[in-house]
Symmetry: C2
Amino acid sequence: MVWALAIHGGAGAIVEALSDDHRNAVEQTLPRIADVGATMLRGGGSAIDVAEQLAVELEECELFNAGRGAVLSVRGTHELEASIMDGDSGRAGACCGLKTVRNPIRLARQVLERTDHVFVAAPGAEDLAKEWQLPCVPNDWFTTDRRRRQLDEFLAAEQDDRMHHATVGAVVCDAEGRVAAATSTGGMTGKLPGRIGDAPMIGAGTWADTRVAVSGTGLGERFIRAGTARMVSARVELLGEPLPVAAAAVLDSMPPESGGLIAVDTGGVVALPFTSQGMYRAWATGAGIVGHAIGPTIGGP
Amino acid sequence: MVWALAIHGGAGAIVEALSDDHRNAVEQTLPRIADVGATMLRGGGSAIDVAEQLAVELEECELFNAGRGAVLSVRGTHELEASIMDGDSGRAGACCGLKTVRNPIRLARQVLERTDHVFVAAPGAEDLAKEWQLPCVPNDWFTTDRRRRQLDEFLAAEQDDRMHHATVGAVVCDAEGRVAAATSTGGMTGKLPGRIGDAPMIGAGTWADTRVAVSGTGLGERFIRAGTARMVSARVELLGEPLPVAAAAVLDSMPPESGGLIAVDTGGVVALPFTSQGMYRAWATGAGIVGHAIGPTIGGP
């Protein structure tokens, strides 16, 4: 079997909004993180372990809207959410409303492993994180100057909707043909306290089964109302469509510029479609296909 | 166009567990509530208004696990959740973790109507309820002696898993061929604080679009991991299956005795499949088909 992975750091009208410094930072970071996953997979790592670790790496990077560097709610605080699904077992874990859990995806994984539940909200979810001794930080540890500025612009009604809905995510097919998906986010700038987006919703922003794994990013409410991630698999299962066809068809059924998704199937095929102007993304496979991009590309998966 | 509606009050291993008094109360209540919806639909009520009102009636009835009569979490408190989706507009509203909102489905409807969000968790969701002046009650207003006893049995490890995962729900096709779905629940007896089930998850326990409306009930985590409600519509859309075939196929793809669902399509066809021992349910259509049942039936929809 050929392993494969893809990661994303959000989709939106991002291309012209980028400073050269920011673009350079993103372009150095995406392949570096993808390589962490590739190394794990070459060493026999499982899809679920690699998906979790890739999401942790993206959460730890302040360039992206998850973990440190997450966007701020209308109250100037962070509420983080994440989900993970293991296609092989069909098990899933998700959490939302987190204020102090440093790596939301790690909590989602532990919900999957340690409970009979799938989805747990704070404060109950934070209690579990403490019980399980996951690293916690003060809420303002997640804050960066850039996100503070974006909230100020939002509150002054000057925000331009660029990348304020983004998430991070990873999809992985391991050398045994098992797939997994992970998604993590700070939500959207200026969101109402308690707003849950698509990232922690199994079937909306995240899905994995015995066929495909999917992680979405963009205007979360649209992903919820379309059941986006679940539908990619449904088309593969019910219509027999190749993954890239199914993934593009689901995005095309949504309103224009809703965002994008990354997907992989159990044969190691990767699809990275988006209907927004760009999507931060990188990919790697055991067949030697490696790359990263922000705007539209010709020739990438 | 022929209007149609169905309601459910939960699915599980319920038949032999019922006292005669309880069975009689359920058998009187289900058709009475269905008739509330039928009267609204004859008067030109919209699918979304009728679905909301039917869920309110079920929440207000202490026989069922939603609103008053909801089950208790492991801490002896209630955390209520609900969702509603309007097939015609594709809009949805959902809320979870509610402790004082008397009718969770009314808050879900207001999230749909008044915000750009779909899903809001408490305490933010409770703040919205207060801002919008929805009726609130003390948390123990929801408690009944029966639910307290069930929690005591659960904590003593004597619980038998009967009807402790139930929800209530409604699906409606109005005289203009629009469909809507609503689901509300107290969750599962002894749940961890913060546990979110399938009821408030669009695509898992609730779905409506321009083809069908679906409300599920049973072992919520299984509905989340199957994307149950979304998949019923996917099969109708992608395979052209009649609704009863699609609904049964999705349930059959899940583990045995996962629960049941109620569904209606825009032509007024009703499907009420379940793989548990029974499902509290009632149905009515403008073509004069009316009924209710708890266990398996021959001849109902």
